[in-house]
Structure formats: structure tokens, C-alpha cells
């Protein structure tokens, strides 16, 4: 229920990383101009990061996760709501893990 000393370096690092992103862009505007090229690169980063998160899980090829990913893609085609799709994916994972797959 308390904060361990060995947790503090991580806490400071994540706080600094978060602060840099939140305040950095605002302050950089005093120094530089965000060119369309920089903007395009910043905009394409989130999708690349998401690929970096999903790809290793898909690569491991466990049935619950693969079935859940297929479910999510199918749901997003009909109901474009990422919360509904993600929760449905979690439900599929839970159900198939329960069945021992």
C-alpha cells in the first residue's frame, strides 16, 4: 500500500517522458515550425506503434489471441466502435482460455 524506493526511478522516468510529450510540442513552437513533413511523420507513428504491439502477439500464434484479433477486425467492419471491439476481443480470449485452448 506504499511506494517502494525501487519504484521511484521508474516513476520519475515515466513522468519525465510524459511531460516531454505533453509540453514539448507546445514549447517547440517557439523555436521551430512544424513542417508538413514532420507532421506526417508524427501522424504515422501511432499506427506503427500499434503494429509493434499487435504483431508480436499475433506471431506467437496462440488460438485465443488469434480468434480475438479476427473478431475485432470483423466487428470494426460493422460497428466502428473501438471500445466495443476491444472488449469483445477480451471476452473471446477469456472464453477460449477457459476452454483450455
Amino acid at each position: 500500500m506504499n511506494i517502494r524506493p525501487e519504484f521511484l526511478p521508474l516513476l520519475f522516468a515515466v513522468a519525465a517522458a510524459s511531460f516531454f510529450c505533453r509540453v514539448g510540442g507546445f514549447w517547440f513552437m517557439r523555436l521551430i515550425r512544424v513542417t508538413p513533413r514532420v507532421e506526417a511523420a508524427l501522424k504515422s507513428t501511432p499506427l506503427a506503434v500499434m503494429i509493434g504491439i499487435v504483431a508480436p502477439v499475433a506471431l506467437r500464434g496462440n488460438i485465443p489471441e488469434l480468434a480475438a484479433l479476427a473478431t475485432i477486425v470483423a466487428i470494426m467492419r460493422w460497428v466502428p466502435n473501438d471500445l466495443v471491439a476491444a472488449l469483445a476481443g477480451v471476452a473471446v480470449v477469456a472464453a477460449l482460455r477457459f476452454l483450455g485452448l
Binding site: V23, F26, F28, L47, G52, V54, A55, P56, L69, L87
Partner: protein, 215 residues
């Protein structure tokens, strides 16, 4: 927006508890980072490499910077509106900025809203469900025998897959996405953990930067 933020907060609370973070440590992290995707990625990296030592901390911090890189853009876009406001308004506004509240703010600004406090107000309204979700998740995980059976660890992957589908349907840079995929698979083989996300994100951004053509 609030139900999604609450669910996200709970997922973080549950997963953080599985990585042995105490309630106070989870709340502290939610307080200083305040980003669902970044924190879920941080706890999944902790599951693979722990959180002690320079390598583990550096990979977690780098993953947070990349997942939150869009905030650099959000902040830049707010500059024309808030550049003249005092730091006591701009700093908390930027700190409590979220995706939804940035979109709302930019729309309000286009409609003529000029009060800089608008950004802070709409940001704070998401902060309460976020902290509450973290708290409930951390407590609930202590009561569950095996949270992994509920599939909570899949939530971030599920969200990323769902949002990735949306982004690919929109005007995405497919070459950048393909390069990110290849790099992710290679790095995952060589050095699993937080660095996979970092490498994929950097390569995706760089490829778009290099290939960019003025239209």
C-alpha cells in the same frame, strides 16, 4: 468518453497489480502519465523485463514517448490559441490533455471559443474516471484469483488492433506500416519487450518522413 476511460483505467489497475505494483504506485503512475495506451504498454513491458535497472526503465520511458508522440502535435496545434496564456493555465491544460478533449477543444476553437480554460476543463473531466478506474482495478485484482483468465492482458492489444483497423481504412501510409511490421517481428525475435514498440514506432515515423512528398 467516460465509460471507455473508466474501463481503460480499470485494465491498467488490474495489470499493474499483477506486476506487483501497490495501489499507491498504480495511482501515482496514473497521476503522472495519464495515458491509457502508454501505461498499458508500460505494464506489459514490465511483465517481460521488470522495472528495475537502466535498460528496463529506458525501454519503458522510450515506449511512453512514442505512444504519446501525438501529444507533441496536439501541443503544437494548441500554440496559436494558448501561446499567450500564463503558464499556470497552459501547463495544467497540457498536462491533463487527452485525445478526446483535444479534438473537442480544436472543434470549439474553430467555432469561436477563445477561453484557454476550456482546454483544462474538458481535460479534467476525463481525469476523474481515469483515477477511479485505476483505483477500482487495483483493488479488484487483489480479489481475483487469476486475472489473466479474464483476458485483461489482451485489452491493449485489442484496442490497438481496433484503432489500427480504423487508421488503415483512413489515409494511412501503407509502406510505413509494412516497414513497422517487419521491424516489429524482427526485434521481437531478437530483443522482446518494450523495444519492439520503440523500434516499430521509430521506423514507421522515419519511413513516412523520408517518403514524404509535397502534394
Amino acid at each position: 468518453m467516460a465509460p471507455g476511460i473508466l474501463v481503460y483505467g480499470m485494465a491498467f489497475g488490474i495489470l499493474a497489480r499483477q506486476e506487483n505494483l501497490s495501489l499507491l504506485e498504480s495511482l501515482a503512475m496514473s497521476f503522472v502519465v495519464y495515458s491509457g495506451s502508454a501505461q498499458l504498454a508500460a505494464v506489459s513491458a514490465m511483465g517481460q523485463g521488470g522495472f528495475v535497472g537502466l535498460d528496463a526503465i529506458a525501454s519503458i520511458a522510450a515506449a511512453i514517448v512514442l505512444l504519446n508522440a501525438r501529444y507533441l502535435l496536439y501541443g503544437a496545434a494548441l500554440w496559436p490559441w494558448m501561446g499567450g496564456a500564463p503558464a499556470r493555465v497552459t501547463l495544467p491544460s497540457l498536462f491533463y490533455l487527452g485525445d478526446g478533449n483535444w479534438v473537442l477543444s480544436m472543434r470549439a476553437h474553430a467555432d469561436g471559443e477563445r477561453d484557454a480554460m476550456y482546454v483544462l476543463g474538458s481535460g479534467l473531466s476525463s481525469f476523474i474516471p481515469w483515477m477511479a478506474g485505476t483505483w477500482v482495478g487495483s483493488i479488484a485484482a487483489g480479489l481475483l484469483a487469476n486475472p489473466k483468465a479474464l483476458g485483461v492482458d489482451f485489452l491493449l492489444v485489442g484496442f490497438c488492433a481496433a484503432m489500427g483497423v480504423v487508421m488503415l481504412k483512413a489515409k494511412a501510409d501503407w509502406t510505413s506500416a509494412a516497414c513497422a511490421l517487419v521491424v516489429a517481428l524482427v526485434v521481437d525475435r531478437l530483443a522482446p519487450g518494450g523495444w519492439t514498440i520503440v523500434a516499430a514506432g521509430l521506423v514507421g515515423g522515419l519511413v513516412t518522413y523520408v517518403r514524404f512528398r509535397e502534394t
